[in-house]
Symmetry: C2
Subunit: 85 residues, 2 copies
């Protein structure tokens, strides 16, 4: 089974990487960009019988820093997105 984990910064958390991308886009003369937020997309290939609790524990313990980041889990097989934290 394939999982997609989307890790994004919580609102209000400063995003220097996003700012740098934004400035770079402007220096390349791209107009109309109001804001840029950079995050992570982690694609996991896991056994089909893996428990949801284990997937959440992976996110909580390693894949996301839940103090400043949100994560969302998408099971690509049946594309059921679980919004969490």
């Amino acid at each position: 089974m394939k999982l997609k984990i989307y890790v994004t910064l919580k609102n209000g958390v400063l995003d220097p990487q996003g700012k740098a991308i934004h400035h770079a886009l402007e220096s390349l003369d791209f107009k109309g960009v109001q804001d840029v937020r950079a995050g992570k997309l982690i694609e996991l290939t896991v056994d089909d019988n893996i428990a949801d609790a284990d997937i959440e524990a992976m996110c909580e313990k390693l894949l996301a820093n839940t103090v400043i980041e949100n994560y969302a889990i998408e099971k690509v097989a049946d594309s059921a997105v679980q919004e969490t934290a």
Copy 2:
């Protein structure tokens, strides 16, 4: 309008970051993880009248290294995913 740009490594390209995450998950005793691929999720807030060609040009010129990376553009407003390159 909000855009989500998913940047992922092309198949066959070595992914040291993914390998490191995989080893870390195993050292935390998580079972059943077969493979990990790390990518980027870039969220852009742009003017509604921005041209598709400009969005693609942003990806081609800055957001993705098209030699080793694929990118996919999702317009969150009407959630139409465009798979590219």
